[in-house]
């Protein structure tokens, strides 16, 4: 968000969209669809599904743009919609598949790094994080949001955002480092 659009610009775009300005809809989608994807990915943990969930949730948000009472708080309002729809999607998947766990597109363990790509390793590593840690690290490291923006959107302090990011990175690095070890090392260990 910080690299694309600020709080005041967001507010102005939302007000324009509420008046039916088509260019404002496009600008909002361009600025926040990736963030919506990051939140959806943190919940559904499958990139393709996360794209679909984010897209549908974003369309719903734009449809109900009049209901956004605080235009400057649009990011948090949007991400709440995305999160709720992603959770509903997971619930429906559980009912459909009859499983309690939500495996990513590739099984979490055992992971043989030489057989899986970085994408799968990242997805597997993300599963060990708390949901809020996933959201913070994805918004910060994937989407380049600042801690102030993350705090405002997720309803937490900047300090708490930093704490979640620190913990998430530490866990992820540990997980990714373990995965990167050659299999022979595991056997020797």
């Amino acid at each position: 968000m910080s690299t694309v659009i600020g709080r005041e610009a967001t507010q102005a775009l939302v007000i324009r969209a509420q008046r039916g300005d088509g260019a404002a809809f496009a600008a909002l989608a361009g600025a926040f669809l990736r963030a919506a994807y990051a939140i959806a990915l943190g919940v559904v943990r499958r990139p393709a599904d996360a794209e679909d969930v984010a897209q549908e949730a974003f369309i719903v948000a734009l449809e109900r743009i009049d209901a956004c009472r605080e235009p400057a708080a649009f990011p948090g309002w949007l991400l709440t919609i995305v999160r709720n729809r992603a959770k509903n999607w997971v619930d429906r998947r559980r009912l459909r598949d009859g499983v309690d766990e939500d495996p990513p597109e590739t099984a979490v363990a055992p992971i043989r790094p030489e057989l899986v790509g970085l994408r799968e390793r990242l997805l597997a590593a993300l599963t060990v994080l708390l949901p809020v840690q996933r959201e913070v690290v994805l918004l910060h490291d994937l989407e380049d949001w600042t801690h102030a923006e993350i705090g405002a959107a997720l309803g937490m302090s900047e300090v708490m955002s930093r704490q979640h990011l620190f913990n998430a990175r530490r866990v992820l690095r540990g997980r990714l480092a373990d995965d990167a070890l050659p299999e022979v090392d595991h056997e020797r260990g």
Partner: protein, 110 residues
């Protein structure tokens, strides 16, 4: 690698395929706008309903107030109802010709 370094999530970034991503963004914006437009029609009607009712009530009140302030209209001494009422009050016995003159004949001609 320090803890301050970002995790490289580019492998999970859907916008790395810029063309596909821009198409998706455009689709989201267009579908969202179309739905918002459809949703706005009944909302607009609901929004107009209250001011319309208020305007109608104000007009009715103005008409009523005007009629009230103007007071009762004096009856025309030639109106049939007034003439008949006068006959009744005075116990008059109008001739058939007078009755026809006041009430008119079958064709309503007075």
């Amino acid at each position: 690698m320090s803890e301050d370094d970002k995790i490289d999530f580019r492998a999970l970034d859907p916008s790395t395929d810029a063309v596909t991503w821009s198409l998706r963004v455009a689709e989201v914006a267009e579908r969202g706008r179309a739905r918002a437009r459809r949703r706005s029609v009944p909302r607009q009607l609901r929004a107009w309903a209250r001011p319309t009712l208020v305007l109608a009530a104000a007009l009715a009140a103005a008409v009523w107030a005007g009629a009230f302030l103007a007071g009762p209209r004096d009856a025309d001494a030639t109106e049939p109802a007034y003439v008949v009422a006068q006959w009744a009050a005075n116990e008059a016995r109008p001739s058939p010709r007078q009755i026809l003159e006041v009430l008119g004949d079958d064709d309503g001609v007075r």
